[in-house]
């Protein structure tokens, strides 16, 4: 978490503050929504985080800091290199693979535990889907801020 925060402040500021906040919030919402939808409790209960399905202060930091800054780096790459369709696909595959690797390490350290038939292969598909949608959302953000001459 500390490494992510330091890296975030060390990156050059290429987005306007409003857009930075929007990107951070988008990935925080995405993390929270995914955990609520397919993770803990009803309807699917595919995985559990730590040893309790209840929301803890630590989870809020994970959503607000880890997920959001990690997503910000992904958005940074998309904008910084002005990635077009072909390269964008490679970045999505790379980012999904990297995220799956982080999840695999987390599972090994018992941060996550899978339930109801979920396994790492489904995670790869889920991440591919999530980062494809996220790349589209980031492109929409870029378009919105450009249309108001703020980027």
């Amino acid at each position: 978490m500390i490494f992510l925060v330091i890296a975030f402040f060390m990156l050059p500021k290429i987005f306007p503050t409003e857009m930075t906040i929007s990107i951070l919030l988008y990935f925080a919402v995405l993390g929270l929504a995914t955990d609520v939808l397919i993770g803990v409790d009803y309807p699917f209960n595919f995985y559990q985080i730590m040893d309790d399905s209840k929301l803890e202060l630590f989870d809020v930091f994970i959503y607000g800091v880890n997920y959001s800054i990690y997503g910000y780096f992904f958005s940074f790459l998309i904008y910084k290199w002005m990635i077009r369709r072909g390269k964008l696909l490679l970045i999505i595959i790379y980012w999904s693979g990297q995220t799956t690797l982080i999840e695999w390490v987390s599972v090994k350290f018992h941060v996550f535990s899978y339930h109801n038939g979920w396994y790492i292969g489904y995670s790869i598909i889920a991440y591919l889907l999530v980062f494809t949608i996220s790349a589209f959302v980031v492109k929409v953000f870029i378009h919105c801020w450009k249309s108001e001459n703020k980027l």
């Binding site: 306007p16 503050t17 409003e18 857009m19 906040i21 929007s22 919030l25 988008y26 925080a28 919402v29 929270l32 929504a33 609520v36 939808l37 803990v40 409790d41 009803y42 309807p43 399905s53 209840k54 929301l55 809020v60 959503y63 953000f141 919105c144 801020w145 249309s147 108001e148 703020k150």
Partner: protein, 151 residues
């Protein structure tokens, strides 16, 4: 059936919002995401930690709840922020009170049609919940307006 009704209601509300709205899209996006994130955290802790309200347990009710929380609620609060921005000081307070009352009534309606079930919930909690969410959202709107224009 409930899901379709809420989708229809959302689009009606969206059309009305487009005609009424005075906020630029670069303000709407972060405020929308902020409302979804904050309300998501608070409502999920009410569901899972406090267990004061039972989570919807059928597909139709659950999807309706998701539409309400991530689409209709932010739009309703953005309506309130628009009114808040338009009126002068004594009426700003009235807007907060009226907004809270409308959201309490909406929550009661949602309980009546069976989307959520109260276990240990009462109107005092509803008042605290909705007034807090509205006030936090308005504070965030001020932060976006003032904090960012100064940076």
């Amino acid at each position: 059936m409930l899901t379709l009704s809420f989708i229809f209601f959302f689009f009606i509300l969206l059309i009305g919002f487009n005609k009424f709205n005075i906020l630029p899209i670069t303000k709407i996006i972060p405020i929308w995401l902020f409302i979804v994130f904050i309300s998501g955290l608070i409502i999920n802790s009410v569901f899972t930690n406090l267990e004061y309200i039972a989570k919807p347990k059928s597909a139709d009710s659950y999807i309706s709840y998701l539409i309400l929380q991530s689409l209709i609620l932010p739009l309703a609060i953005l309506f309130i922020i628009n009114i808040y921005k338009l009126v002068r000081l004594p009426l700003k307070v009235a807007t907060l009170i009226l907004g809270t009352i409308i959201l309490i009534i909406a929550e009661k309606f949602i309980e009546q049609i069976g989307i959520i079930t109260y276990t240990h919930w009462n109107i005092a909690f509803s008042t605290i919940l909705w007034s807090s969410i509205i006030m936090i959202s308005i504070c965030f709107y001020h932060f976006m307006k003032r904090g960012i224009s100064h940076s």
